[in-house]
Symmetry: none
Subunit: 414 residues, 2 copies
């Protein structure tokens, strides 16, 4: 069953407001097994709204409008839908008590006349209750399509969806079962993934596969629609086992787990701890780690040692090394990691030192050069890379490759 | 001149990805004086893309597509535009060296065959250089309309827009003169700003004003369209002087400067330095500070002291304070700031300690409680707040209010 979503409003087209409703609706609809085949943002003009409704109704079974239900003259969704259907608008006197109640609760004053226009629904429409705002939504048939209209204010839309629309859809529409599995990968581009899975994925029955670049890597998403849950499960299991065999430790997590959370889980499982010394990444890695709830179980401390004095005082880097090799060097990265590991008592100590730019590069040590080191019970590993792009890109890329290296080192320690 | 924006991609329609490009484009286009009259999200299907391009080209002079320029078989923007125009796709051999260069720089390995399909542009199209990715964009005429296609990856789109498209549009399209000034404010909501400026802003001639919630506050944007540059200047100057008089130090920057950059500039001007001790913010503040190029001129070090031992060892917080008051307390925040200031020699030392949640709260110290302190030459100021929302929201809000407090303390020291 297809759905099209119409966002109504000049403020969206002007870029004044980010349309978050559409994505939220798209996710909810997909979870229901509806296929969202189109989305249009329409100006506040009756004719354009009517035309968009007619067109969407000819292409999908569900037409879902958000916005344009307010009380001001530029709120024209009611009029636009009425025009598309070729019906009049009818003042719904039965909804007046509800409007009065909302004013009593949220804005105790005389109801402005214009608010009553919010009750002028297209003839034949079924009202949808708005528990926290003055605009009722509505549902109305248009040929073989069902048209829904809800307010654009996200929390009003959400409540109406949950309380009124989703229960109705589940009861009255013939919806399929859907199952999805997501494998989050790192270290391979989209095209490399496609090449690795080509041939294999052609043999999966009923399983759709999609690739989504999603920092820090690419998500591989499997989807199965159908009515036979056991068969779907079996076919997804087969695809999953192929994916795990082929992509191995490039898979850092499943579902929506972040790289930092996967790394944290690996540390918790082994009762191990982590400390981080950052120069060029400036706290970005620590921030990623501590964004995960419960990070205090395994993250002991971070040191953002930007100045040389801090590297010496906080991490115990020998001044001689800084003089001989410069702050951006393998020996200093090693000394930072080893110094922090010794002082903090962490099982793993990561260090970064580099030139994030845009200034500060030399011929020997260009902008983008980063030395990293990871000290652990089996010794210290050091590596470097030279990134390109903006300062933010260099910091971001360094942070995610460093985290992935820590993740692999934890797994390798087993 | 009208523009329509087409977002291409099943991943957007599926709700997997939030389409942020559209809003960004809408704002940029409005700044140019283009009127965005429609926006459509189109599935990855050649026929639907072609139909959407044709329809948009009949309704607007500019048709702008984002997404669908990747190398995989579901990237069909090139094919869709070619179909709309009724032309073939042509492998642009002249772009091969550029593709090879991108691989050398970012992914030094053999170029997968499918990446070459990214060079199969519609016949007659002018390529647009992608400085950081493998997908060239393109510009091509379709009747009276101009069709632009750019990658969906936001930073690639943005670079292409800035480097290639905007300069071309300014030179080749008949656009009105537009001047804008942006005042970035913090500490006031949108409606408070409106109330403060009401009455005054009605008296500005020809100057449009818009309010954009934009972390960490609200941007106030003045816009003037016209042909008489000196008059525009004069009228904008008047509005600017009103705004500065009314909003005072709520304005932290103008244009696109970030709060961290404004703070950095204030430190550089005074030859002062900063150090940061973070517990609950976990490196987020240091990351904001060091995201600014040249931060090493004033940022000495950050200490992410997550564990109590780290607070004692790295910052010299007396163990007694931790035992008596707990880590999340004003005395500990003060001791962190003062300890770091003494050890690092920084002029300003900021400290945060709190409970970012979702776990770890108690009746006395609920989730969201954060104690902060700032040590400087005039003494130590301490303050606290109790935030609500997710862990990420609590960390973000703490980080920006703390940075703003440092900014105000720097200014107050004059």
């Amino acid at each position: 069953m297809r759905a099209q979503i119409l966002t109504i409003g000049d403020e969206i087209l002007a870029g004044d407001i980010q349309d978050t409703n559409f994505r939220e609706l798209a996710q909810v609809f997909r979870g229901l097994g509806l296929l969202v085949t189109g989305h249009v943002t329409v100006p506040d003009q009756v004719d354009l709204i009517a035309e968009a409704v007619r067109r969407a109704a000819s292409e999908a079974e569900i037409v879902f409008l958000t916005g344009g239900l307010g009380p001001t003259p530029d709120d024209l969704t009611r009029a636009g839908v009425a025009k598309a259907l070729g019906v009049a608008q009818v003042r719904r006197e039965d909804l007046v008590p509800r409007l009065e109640e909302i004013f009593r609760k949220y804005a105790p004053r005389k109801i402005p006349q214009i608010n009553y226009t919010q009750l002028d629904l297209p003839e034949g429409a079924e009202p949808l209750i708005n528990g926290i705002g003055t605009a009722p939504g509505f549902r109305v048939a248009h040929g073989d399509a069902l048209v829904f209209a809800v307010p654009g204010i996200p929390r009003e839309m959400r409540l109406m969806l949950e309380n009124e629309i989703l229960p109705w859809m589940k009861e009255n529409l013939d919806l399929p079962d859907i199952e999805t599995r997501v494998f989050r990968t790192i270290g391979l581009g989209e095209s490399a993934l496609v090449e690795m899975l080509e041939g294999t994925m052609d043999q999966w029955r009923g399983v759709g596969v999609a690739f989504y670049p999603q920092m820090p890597g690419v998500d591989v998403k499997l989807t199965h629609h159908g009515k036979d849950a056991r068969r779907m499960e079996r076919e997804l299991d087969r695809a999953e086992s192929d994916i795990r065999r082929i992509l191995r430790d490039h898979i850092y997590a499943t579902g929506t787990q972040s790289l930092a959370a996967a790394l944290g889980e690996a540390l918790v499982q082994r009762s191990q701890s982590l400390a981080i010394a950052e120069s060029c990444t400036g706290g970005a890695i620590a921030a990623m780690i501590t964004a995960v709830p419960g990070a205090s179980r395994y993250f002991l401390e971070g040191a953002v040692t930007y100045s040389n004095q801090a590297k010496v005082r906080v991490l115990g880097v020998p001044e001689r090394l800084l003089e001989e090799h410069g702050a951006v060097s393998e020996p200093v990265a090693r000394a930072m990691a080893e110094g922090l590991r010794a002082r903090s008592g962490a099982d793993f100590a990561l260090a970064t030192t580099g030139i994030a730019g845009p200034g500060g590069g030399t011929e020997d040590k260009p902008v983008g050069l980063v030395h990293m080191a990871l000290a652990h019970a089996r010794g210290t590993e050091a590596w470097s890379h030279t990134g390109t792009g903006t300062r933010a890109m260099i910091i971001a890329r360094t942070s995610r490759t460093a985290l992935d290296r820590v993740r692999r080192a934890i797994l390798a320690g087993d």
